[in-house]
């Protein structure tokens, strides 16, 4: 005799909510999810209430509000009716939190990922930024401030194309 069991997935609500929130994309760099970026810091489900904690990449990042909205919308669509998104500033976001998958996606998208880790100490180590178009390390910074707060503008001396570089921060 077959015992019928509850056909609904008994996946832990927290894991489910995390998966939904983690899939939200950065509206300015749509190849990256907020999980890839390290922007999604924490998620708790307590008595049906989902509390999501994110951290902005930069203090004035205009994507932060859009990300908050998108998290609420995505979780609401997944059946979580009570969603609270909180913003934390500490510890301060760093590109060291970007996942390897995130860096690979950036490169594929035509944005040079952060090079190495944020240097701590008096002598910053500058690593060559590879051109995401042709792979040449022969590149130069044109402007420290690029199309968004988190990016600088570079050009490649080999293929002569301009490209964005996600700054080490």
């Amino acid at each position: 005799m077959v015992t019928l069991i509850d056909p609904l997935p008994t996946m832990d609500a927290t894991l489910h909510a995390w998966a939904v929130a983690a899939a939200v994309r950065d509206p300015e760099v749509p190849v990256l999810t907020i999980e890839d970026l390290g922007v999604l810091r924490d998620l708790e489900v307590d008595d049906g209430r989902v509390t999501v904690t994110i951290t902005p990449t930069y203090s004035g990042c205009p994507a932060t509000n859009a990300i908050c909205d998108d998290i609420v919308i995505a979780l609401t669509a997944a059946g979580f009716d009570d969603v609270d998104v909180r913003i934390t500033l500490a510890p301060a976001w760093t590109t060291d939190w970007m996942s390897a998958a995130g860096a690979a996606k950036l490169h594929e998208f035509g944005i040079a990922p952060p090079t190495g880790r944020r240097a701590a100490g008096p002598i910053p180590v500058t690593l060559a930024v590879r051109c995401p178009q042709c792979g040449s390390p022969d590149t130069r910074e044109i402007a420290r401030f690029g199309s968004t707060a988190c990016k600088a503008l570079y050009e490649c001396r080999a293929c002569l194309e301009p490209f964005d570089h996600f700054k080490v921060h």
Partner: protein, 276 residues
């Protein structure tokens, strides 16, 4: 079928900066009127400079500078939002209330920040002083006993470092460029220097906030040391100008601040409660 995001956008607005409790015992609220007043000073400095830098967009000497000054303004606006939000938690005012419905005499920004943009050299000189000061301020404040100020500062200091680098590079370029650019850079330094002193004056408030606030006078030696290095490289001298009386912390301001506020507040005052 429409994607749920497309279907729902427009119904939802989550426009607030809600700082999570950074540490146990911290509820993200300004504990006293003094802490709120201190946050207001720092927030107003950042807000007034951000608003003025925004005026350069589409008018800077080159496209890259439109981007740079806009980005710096955006960072400063982020700092201002966090600081004003925190200041407002004490008496229930929102960051928008503080930005849009206060009058001139209620602003606590120091005089340096309300100096007009002037020419590009004057914006660079103002930025050099502002970012060098803010770098030392936020470095010190990252060790504050107040968890919220500590969190805001630890985040801001990384951004202000870029601002300082930008100002230093342009100071070197203009001072070492053509006769005209050098003449203007020297004039800009003379114009800005009277307002340096006010940034580093202790007063009753900072005395009462020992451990919470960064004592302004303690930031001066490091500021002077950095400026000395930059000026040596740029072959500039500290101009022999008398320090201004100051008064921004008490709400006394130049008439120019009125023009800045008029532009910044016009929409919110004409349409109270308006949202995008």
């Amino acid at each position: 079928m429409t994607h749920p995001l497309e279907a729902r956008h427009g119904d939802v607005t989550v426009d607030r900066v809600e700082l999570a409790a950074e540490l146990s015992g911290a509820d993200g609220r300004a504990s006293t009127a003094d802490v709120a007043e201190y946050a207001l000073r720092l927030g107003d400095d950042a807000l007034i400079l951000a608003q003025q830098l925004g005026e350069w967009i589409a008018r800077a000497p080159e496209l890259e500078e439109d981007m740079a000054l806009a980005n710096i303004a955006l960072d400063l606006l982020g700092h201002a939002r966090s600081l004003l939000h925190y200041a407002g938690t004490f008496d229930g005012r929102s960051e928008d209330d503080l930005a849009y419905v206060r009058d001139e005499h209620e602003f606590r920004s120091a005089w340096l920040f309300e100096q007009p943009n002037g020419d590009f050299a004057q914006t660079v000189a103002r930025g050099l002083v502002a970012s060098t000061y803010q770098f030392e301020l936020y470095t010190a404040l990252a060790a504050s006993t107040d968890p919220t100020l500590r969190a805001i500062a630890a985040k801001a200091v990384k951004e202000v470092e870029y601002h300082r680098d930008h100002a230093v590079q342009w100071t070197l370029r203009l001072a070492g460029g053509t006769d005209e650019s050098r003449r203007r850079m020297i004039r800009a330094v003379v114009d800005m220097w009277p307002y340096v002193d006010e940034l580093f004056r202790d007063d009753d408030l900072t005395d009462r906030l020992e451990g919470v606030a960064a004592r302004p006078s303690t930031l001066r030696p490091r500021f002077d040391a950095i400026i000395a290095v930059v000026f040596a490289e740029a072959e500039l001298e500290i101009p022999p100008v008398a320090p201004s009386a100051g008064g921004g912390r008490q709400g006394r301001h130049f008439s120019h601040l009125g023009a800045v506020l008029a532009e910044m507040q016009v929409l919110a005052r004409q349409h109270p409660g308006v949202t995008w």
